[in-house]
């Protein structure tokens, strides 16, 4: 008789779990064909809308037609590619919780927090690949202008990275809500709408009333998208970068601590499978 549990192990490679998203998406042509169709349609409509809006105006809200169109198109790319739709795969947190399969997250040698991050990185990597392709296509077609300078491009990229960190933490909060209530669909929809509107993805935030922008200063959403896009199109000067980075770092650290606490609470109160 041999004894169980005696095998030597090599290094853990949980990060390879990132490929789950890519395999899932690429083995279902209907998913990426639909995604492609939606992106192309939305990009085209947005382009024509903003060109039409600027037909009789040279500058509005501090943005010219090229800046406004580029901002709006990049916003479309961001929304389309920010998260992969996991609902149809039964792979959202709320579905895992509802079906009880979340239990497996707690009997694996990777913490649920780390596994969640790995899966989200997989989603992001897949989204970025699409986004980059769409961005280059838009640049080649002349729909999106390049940044005014290399420094502006670098600043936009840096703030975009931090913005994604903030977006990630906001998504963690929404997903972890299902540890307290599995009927959080409305909350998910509300938060997604708020984050899309308040980040500037629907329309550049510069067009919103002053009170709206001031109120938005107290929320994390505009740091996710408005900041990098404003730097990219030159609406914010590169000299504003340190201040913007400080705001983003503040939100990132605060939300990071909060989600760390939230994971601990969630892990302590997981009640699944009828027990």
């Amino acid at each position: 008789m041999t004894t169980a549990g005696g095998s030597p192990r090599s290094a853990l490679l949980p990060w390879r779990g990132m490929r789950i998203t890519v395999i899932t998406e690429l083995t279902q042509p209907v998913r990426y064909v639909t995604q492609l169709t939606m992106i192309v349609t939305q990009l085209a409509l947005t382009y024509w809308l903003w060109r039409a809006l600027y037909a009789g105006v040279k500058v509005s809200a501090g943005l010219d037609v090229t800046q406004a169109t580029s901002y709006a198109l990049l916003g479309v790319l961001y929304v389309q590619l920010r998260f992969v739709d996991r609902w149809s795969n039964g792979d959202t947190m709320v579905q895992l919780m509802f079906e009880g399969t979340i239990a497996y997250w707690f009997v694996r040698p990777v913490s649920p927090r780390r596994w969640y991050l790995i899966r989200m990185c997989g989603d992001l990597g897949y989204g970025v690949a699409w986004g980059l392709g769409a961005y280059l296509a838009c640049r080649a077609a002349g729909a999106i202008a390049g940044p005014p300078s290399l420094a502006a491009g670098g600043a936009a990229l840096l703030t975009l990275a931090l913005g994604l960190v903030i977006t990630y933490y906001l998504q963690v909060i929404v997903d972890l809500m299902c540890f307290w209530s599995t009927v959080n669909d409305n909350a998910v929809v509300a938060v997604q709408f708020a984050s899309t509107l308040l980040s500037g993805a629907f329309a550049p935030l510069w067009f919103f009333p002053g009170w709206f922008q001031r109120a938005n200063d107290f929320l994390p959403f505009q740091s996710t998208l408005n900041t990098p896009l404003s730097l990219y199109v030159g609406r914010l000067p590169v000299s504003a970068l340190p201040g913007q980075l400080a705001v983003q770092a503040g939100w990132g650290a605060g939300l990071g601590l909060f989600t760390w606490w939230l994971w601990r609470r969630a892990a302590a109160r997981v009640t699944v499978l009828g027990g």
Binding site: R9, R108, A268, L273
Partner: protein
């Protein structure tokens, strides 16, 4: 504590639910000041499973079996008591615990729906850091009984229940854990696949020396796999011992059915009581507190009665458990 040992002492779990009274006013009041109602799911469960042992945890729905197994797995944090699996307190060190245990939870699959079963197993291989040679060896071993290769290139969502559970068993044992928790693994399966799974479990316990804690409602499974059972009811262990000993607890015992040439005017067989009489067909059971074995009973019946035919019937385990819970 040697690897493969499960110890629970006074394990308790109390859930708190919010009482939802009927009516809009009461619902609003509940929103502002919710009334939390405690529910004791597991009430001081103590048990020990030694390395290489298979223990079947039995009980009606809602008895606390699944909650107990989830505390032993480290998924749930106990409200009270002590639990150690492989010398680790599972809920306090989930990562270390996870390397030492495998788990299958009934019809809940850990395979990714849109990945093939093989791809899911490869993700788990990477997660547990298995060396390619070990992985291949283990898959070969599982494949011998579970016949995974026949269907593992199909997406998990397209697999039948039996195929999925076989993959889940392989997934749970891929990292060679000394302890395995199986929460109703064969629920809903057909007889052929059930037998395949049982053979696999027998092999894993006898050949690989794994400790298995199994919950099931399938008494055939218990009779075929477990030498020891623990009965749990209302969160408490009401019996922990040999499967055969359950009969004493339940008060259900064997019966001897005889056919006699002529029915005597007085039927008096020492150590036996007449339970049924239908013409020449008589049924006997041992008297309460008696220690007559079926073999001795046969001898005695032949000695005292003009027997032409005799048959001893052992009680079905399902009847025994049912009777035990009635008591």
């Amino acid at each position: 504590m040697p690897a493969g040992t499960i110890v629970a002492e006074g394990l308790t779990k109390v859930f708190h639910t919010v009482a939802r009274p009927p009516g809009v006013g009461a619902a609003l009041k509940s929103l502002v000041r919710p009334e939390r109602v405690p529910k004791v799911a597991v009430d001081g469960v103590s048990l020990r499973v030694d390395p290489g042992e298979l223990l079947a945890l039995l009980g009606p729905n809602g008895a606390g079996k699944s909650t107990t197994i989830k505390m032993l797995c480290g998924i749930l944090t106990p409200t009270g008591g002590r639990v150690e699996v492989n010398g680790i307190t599972p809920h306090q060190d989930r990562i270390a615990n996870a390397r030492q245990i495998g788990a299958v939870f009934g019809q809940r699959s850990q395979l990714w729906r849109d990945l093939t079963a093989r791809q899911s197993l490869e993700v788990l291989r990477d997660m547990y850091g298995l060396r390619p040679a070990d992985y291949r060896m283990r898959i070969r071993e599982f494949n011998r009984i579970l016949e995974l290769e026949e269907f593992w290139d199909g997406r998990a969502r397209q697999l039948s229940l039996g195929q999925r559970v076989r993959c889940d068993l392989a997934a749970a044992l891929l990292h060679d854990p000394p302890v395995v928790f199986l929460d109703e693994p064969t629920i809903g399966m057909d007889v052929v696949v059930k037998e395949q799974v049982r053979e696999f479990l027998r092999d894993q316990v006898r050949q690989r020396g794994r400790t298995v804690l199994l919950t099931t409602h399938d008494m055939t499974e218990v009779a075929k796999l477990a030498e020891r059972v623990a009965l749990i009811d209302h969160g408490r262990v009401v019996y922990d011992g040999k499967t055969a000993g359950l009969r004493d607890l339940a008060g259900v015992t064997w019966e001897a059915h005889v056919t006699v040439e002529t029915v005597p005017a007085v039927i008096d067989v020492p150590g036996l009581r007449l339970t049924r009489s239908d013409g020449p067909r008589l049924s006997f059971a041992p008297v309460e507190g008696g220690d007559l074995t079926p073999r001795h009973a046969v001898r005695r019946l032949i000695e005292y009665l003009p027997v032409t035919d005799i048959r001893v019937q052992e009680p079905d385990l399902e009847d025994v458990v049912r009777q035990a819970f009635r008591r």
